[in-house]
Amino acid sequence: MIVWLLQQVSLVRKVVQASDTPQRMAWGFAFGVLLGLVPKGNLVAVVLSMVLLATRANLSIGMATALAFSLLSSWLDPLTHRLGLAVLTMPALQAWWQSAYQLPLVPWTSLNNTVVCGSLIVGLLAFYPAYRVSKPVFQRYLDWRVRRREQAESTALPATVPLESPEAVESSIPKAA
């Protein structure tokens, strides 16, 4: 059992360390920002998590970013509360909010909470900028990794010549004209 668990952990580590495209990594980061800002314990957070799982965004970067932004989100509560309050009490949106709230599962989203609503709006607004900003960063990161790998390969000791078969040796000898 323990061996099986260790094997699974090792597999997850390999997957996380696997190379990915800058786009997927940037999408993971953007989803992480959105997921991290929204308070947990409601259907919005669950749906965002499922979207993260369903897309081909980088999961490890998304989860790490979500964790980091979760710690920071409480600092933004005054802002998100004011924003959420303004949106939820906007007269033009009242009818829409009220009809939406009567739908099944919507009450589980806790969107009638000012912080949830405000942080979702902030997260959505920050989603694409986060993608755009992070994509070049991840591009450079990947380039840096490639360069580093190449340097490592060039400075490595030459590989020993494999012992070839007599037929191969014979074939490699140029024949007399």
Partner: protein
Amino acid sequence: MIRWSYLLPRLLLLLTVWLGLHFGAGPAARWAFVTAGQSAIGGKVDIDQVHVNLLAGRLDIRQASVADPRSPLRNLVQFDEGVFHLDSQALLHRRLVVEQGALRGIRLDTERSESGALEPREPAEATDWASSQIAVAGREWLEGLGQRLDAKLEDELETVRVGKELWQRWPREYSALEDRVHDWRGRIERLQQIVKQPPRGNVLEQANFYQQQAMTLDQMRKDLVQLHRDLQRLGQQAGQDRQSLDAARRHDEQRIRELVKFDQLDPRNLTEYLLDEETSRRVEDCLAWLQRGQELMNVAGQAPELNQIEGRGAWIDLTTGPQPPDVLIRHLELDGVALWGGQSVAFRGTAEGLTHQPARHGQPAQLHLRTEGAVAATIDCSLDFTTQLPSSRLRIACPQLAQPARNLGRDGQLAVGVAPGAAALQAELELVGRQVSGRVEWHQPDVQLTTQLGSRLGGQRLAQHVQSSVGQIRELRAVVHLEGELPRPRWRLQSDLGSQLATGINAAVRQELAQRAGDLSDQADRLLQEQQARLDDFILGKQAELVEKLNLGEQQLADFQQLVTQRLNLPKELLGRELPLNKLFR
């Protein structure tokens, strides 16, 4: 080709979510119930297991107990199993609605091994019965009667006091007179001896000596007259003292007549004296449960964990029209065991419309219970918190409540023993805000009563008199009318027990006091006659004795007079006068 780098983490996360839902929903629900329950009740909530089946919409709770916040070492309630069928539509709208549920193996007011206190709460407001002063009046009446019957009036009779006083005074008076008579007679005897001696000196000296003796004789005569007068005065005084004894007797008669007069025992006082403890305990129990229900509803309605008033941000009401409650138990089957009057009683029943947001529900919470076995009763309770002014109604009907043998009243004073039997109890109480009203009726037919009276109240003898009227009582009926504001509601107790018993007691007490007065009167008469006879005998004896002594003294005085006249050869008439003997020799 399968892209494991994409699929594997997602599969693992989905597996984790599924495992979390499957195995974590129960503990999460358990945590939620414990947190919300503790917040609502204020006592520790212990739940052994919670199973959640979201697909089937079923919730199972096993072995739960809720500590009593007012008594941390006791459980308010505990149950073995709870099964709840949830409304899935309501669940989609984030409301926990139990369409049908059942709590089995309920036990009320059980002991806890460890304290269930979370935070100290103010003690419950104890009901204070202002009207129990009437019961105190009954006790005071009996106490007064006890003092009256217990008083040693024999020792307080005026006849006895005056008789004792006279008996102490008369011997002193006669002794003093006797002493004076004895002294007088001693003096006259000494004079006789002096005069009988042969004369000394010359004639003139002799004449002078005898003249002095004659003067002394005169004084002795006067003293004798005074002694006669004093003796006569004592005789007159004896007559006055007899009148004093008669006056004392009349005074005693007055007191004895007052003894017979007594304030009639007020039947209402007696009713409350006898039934105060018994009925107030029942009423207090009923009111305590009503208050507890109201308090629980109040606390639950304000619990932060149940009302979205904690956490980050603010909650905006987006509902249109009437908003249903977030948590509602529409129908709950109950069965369990409770203690009633020291007996373990099995009960079954239903609870409907239980919610911490009754105003949203718009209907009062209803509780219907039916007990079985030794105590068969139906209990209907309605807790209406749908308006600003909460109101609760409690109706208890118990047609056959087994009653053990018990004593009404107080041992050592007046106690009425009630033989074991069955009683019917009907209670209808309403609590609107802090205003309580209602009635509690208690009826015990085919009753057998025995009276016990303390020794101060005449003991077994008077109890026999009372028993003759108590023995005619065939049923006990008491109705408590309750009205007023907590914690001091007014109450009025009505029962025919007091009136029936008061009639018997008044008659018995009257008879007892009349008998007592007769005995005292006879005793006073006997004492008066004894005192008078003894005093008369004494006075007559002493009078005769002193008269005899004074007669003897007169005889002695006469002899002395004759002796002096012989010595002086003077006519008897001149004795006692100062003769001009000095002039004879000038």
